[in-house]
Symmetry: D2
Subunit: 310 residues, 4 copies
């Protein structure tokens, strides 16, 4: 299986983990969801992420789910898996399992205990030592991890840790980080790694214009990301932004902390990608009012896209 490289681009979807209404792992929906993502332009998949309810799975379930995912993907696109952990031993065990099943790389968020530049660099050096030659994505998501990674630290990790091949950029929104990293590569000859952006796609046009290579997020309309990435690359910035704007009211709504995953699963179930919108416990559920608002936003979005000839 091909490994993740610094050339990763396009739309790496943060995949859901589908459950049945009673909370069991739903493997049939897993197949259907993967096809749904790939049919709508996913160029990669990221599983076992924060929005994948990874922390609610048992070790055995994680393995079952990853195995099923890789079987269904069948080499069509690279699959990344989140392996963030409080310790390097369980991180390595999970990584070995995942890579053994055929994954392309792993993603590592910093533990919340890291509190300064040196500690962050040291952590990623140690992690990379443990994982050997496995390529990894550095997840920069301060809102959730509470670890702020200055761009100088990211650059140091790029300089010193060759297996760091991709940045999942979701410092909210931290556009200047993209600019700085690209400038370091272009002007100072630094290594250029892949930058894929998160935050539900809420800043994708600006991120692409700054030099990002694509998205790594889970917005329930992957076609938005596919089209924005495509038209940005083709230089049709107006078209990219028109499409983005049409999806923005719903993307904004889906981005609500605490409730976002429930909204995303509701839409994915409505679109037929998964059978049940249920989150595994503990998890939030939607009210009648929430659902009314989502339905209204979807209706308006459809109309707006028709106006745009999409």
């Amino acid at each position: 299986m091909a490994r993740l490289t610094e050339d990763a681009n396009g739309v790496y979807i943060i995949a859901l983990t589908p459950f049945t209404d009673t909370g069991a792992l739903d493997l049939d929906s897993t197949d259907r969801m993967i096809d749904f993502y790939l049919d709508r332009g996913a160029t990669g998949l990221t599983v076992l992420g924060m929005m994948g309810e990874a922390q609610k799975l048992t070790t055995e379930e994680s393995q079952t789910y990853v195995r099923r995912t890789l079987k269904r993907v069948d080499g069509r696109v690279p699959v990344i898996a989140g392996v963030s952990s409080g310790g390097f031993a369980p991180m390595k065990t999970l990584t070995d399992m995942i890579m053994g099943e055929g994954a392309a790389g792993v993603m590592i968020a910093p533990p919340p205990t890291l509190r300064n530049d040196q500690q962050i660099v040291g952590y990623y050096q140690q992690a990379a030592d443990f994982l050997g030659d496995v390529p990894f994505v550095l997840q920069d998501f301060p809102l959730v991890t509470s670890v702020t990674i200055p761009v100088s630290v990211i650059q140091t990790i790029i300089d010193q840790v060759p297996t760091c091949v991709c940045l999942k950029h979701e410092d909210w929104p931290g556009l200047s980080k993209i600019t700085a990293l690209r400038k370091a590569a272009e002007t100072h000859g630094k290594r250029r790694i892949s930058i894929l952006c998160g935050n539900g796609g809420m800043f994708l046009p600006e991120e692409m214009a700054r030099g990002a290579d694509g998205a790594m997020t889970g917005f329930a309309y992957p076609e938005m990301m596919r089209d924005v990435v495509r038209f940005q690359r083709e230089g049709d910035l107006a078209r990219a932004q028109d499409i983005f704007d049409a999806y923005l009211p719903l993307a904004r709504y889906e981005q609500q902390p605490g409730l976002g995953l429930s909204i995303r699963k509701y839409i994915m179930a409505k679109r037929g990608a998964i059978a049940s919108a249920a989150l595994r416990k503990p998890g939030a559920s939607l009210s009648k009012d929430d659902i009314y608002e989502i339905e209204r936003l979807i209706e308006r979005q459809t109309e707006r896209l028709q106006e745009l000839g999409q």
Copy 2:
């Protein structure tokens, strides 16, 4: 001067504090800014808030600024002032000064040390005791204060503290809180207080539909809030949402943590409301790329509003 009541509604603008390029308080711009806000539909003003760089003013400057503001407003709309403080004595001194100048009420955010329901209720009871009959706005903004106030606690404060007449709602977005408070008033006969919403207006249509009375935020286009509030009230929800959607790409951009105030001041200076976009130190500044993106979003926004016949 009329005092703030439970009937407060419309658009209470979180006012900027204008500085010159060298960081001095700019009182001429203060006058101009107030006219700008009132000309574009502000039904109230909130000064000395977090986005007003209140913590960067000396006591004397705060007084000068409030006095100038109240003189220029001249009773046309009510003026609220933020008085959040680590102690009740300075809170009371500032409140007395402000009310003496003719303000309509004050706004109080919880100190970050509060850690449970009982402490929060106790804090607002003590604060209200100190402030006497001065009406106040309860600011619910967990992202910044790190204090989460459950809706049951807000209801208890409404029940027990009669001078709490308004909620500045910016639990992100916490739409269910509005629904619960309105239901408590309508179904259980609880006191109905004003709910004005923050977060840069990013959820205003939904908030209004849930029962909010308006906005209390500082988006650089007050006319967006004015129109959304007006059309929502008139029952023309589609029109309200069309206008909202036209402003959303820029509203989203202005809502960036850390950079948002710089963006807001840039736009306000561009629109002629203030002379300088400068923040007082410590404060962020915009890059060339940031400004390019803002200009582009404004241009698209203007076009879209023309399409809508606005």
Copy 3:
């Protein structure tokens, strides 16, 4: 195997997880350490806790370690295991494994996402539903979990969740919580659960006097806790405090955040309880100066205990 009950008392040691110098699980040291604890007065053991580097173990290692521990203990004292987790499914899987091996109960810390009274109560109700009839310890440790649990919430959990049989008290130091819970039991007929205290034993005499049943912590001199608990119970408060005071300079030193576990392991290795003082990565290590200070404190402690005829 007997299950944990509300009568738990004495010294429940938070057990270390011994590793070799190269980071492998050291099962021979595990045996030796258990004998060390039991010989020095442990009336129970708590494994897989925060100070047991639980998060650094793979699932398989956790099982191996728990199995070895239970075999060596061989029913002499009850064994509790930490099962805190981001999801109920992995929590249940770990619990089932542990209880199947013969443990007496589990310990659950609140996840850092809980932010108000109702959420905390709801979380423990859901957890208890998942775990069925397994008795559990509620860990109240705000310094690390960042979740503050008011005493009224603890009381509600006691009232509503019968499988909550013990409180691991380490709200720093929160002596008033013990007083309030005991008063509720004695005066208002509330259920009396076991209260065992943490924080390295730094407040043990006061905690016992307030109504605690013992200690649940890992100070490298279990005999301190044994003696303080014993003399407090026998009413010889002066003797209890004399002994406590003799150990306090070192207990204080061992309680340093970040470095504490390294200090504890150093002392345990020095005392012959484990073979290596090494922490698994990521973990701190001691400097020459640190070790000098520890040695000096131990020497003085020995002298002082001799003066006291201990």
Copy 4:
């Protein structure tokens, strides 16, 4: 008035702010308290600190209190004042007032918004620019500020900001920071600044041995700090530690987060240094049980000191 220099040493007491039972500033007690501190070995005073309830004072009260303090001190020892603030303008106004009254320097804690090395250095550079030639103490207290300052950042500030003449060391306990800073001065020719230690004196013997110049904290028995500093300097480490150990049970008790200031004021009132133990609101108060425990610890402390011939 002499200014604070890199030679500051001995015991800089973090002074209380005395209030009457009804919460008014108590200036007579201020006089008495200052004499109390100076009679027991204070070589400096730090006012308007966190434990001085500075945030509960109005601007006018701060001035009144500082003026009274400086008048009573009358040049006998240097007086430092806390001026930490959300903005540089109010920080400068307070600093100018304080220095104008005759203070020797100011103390600055980092605002909680600082999140990486570069931001911390930048903040202190900007602050120093604003304050001109006023010498300042850098307060390193992560437990309260939530800003972790690596030793490399402290060293950079020492290198680049000549008005930083003293470190208030209370990274809990961060003994290795003292060692590293002293080594940098001795081995690498870096500037040697004063290091005075906080945390209630809980690690004073170790801190002195590592190279600290004294204490800057508010433990209600300044004579403990005076004697430990003196005997450490004279090389009588055993005597220093004996005295320290005698006070440790009470020092530990006084160090309780949330309750510590109430305990300290209780003891200071009991010792006759101030008239009332009252904190200004919002503030904790002691229970009957708390007071019983304090009295018992004082009694035992007195006995132990007599045994030691103190």
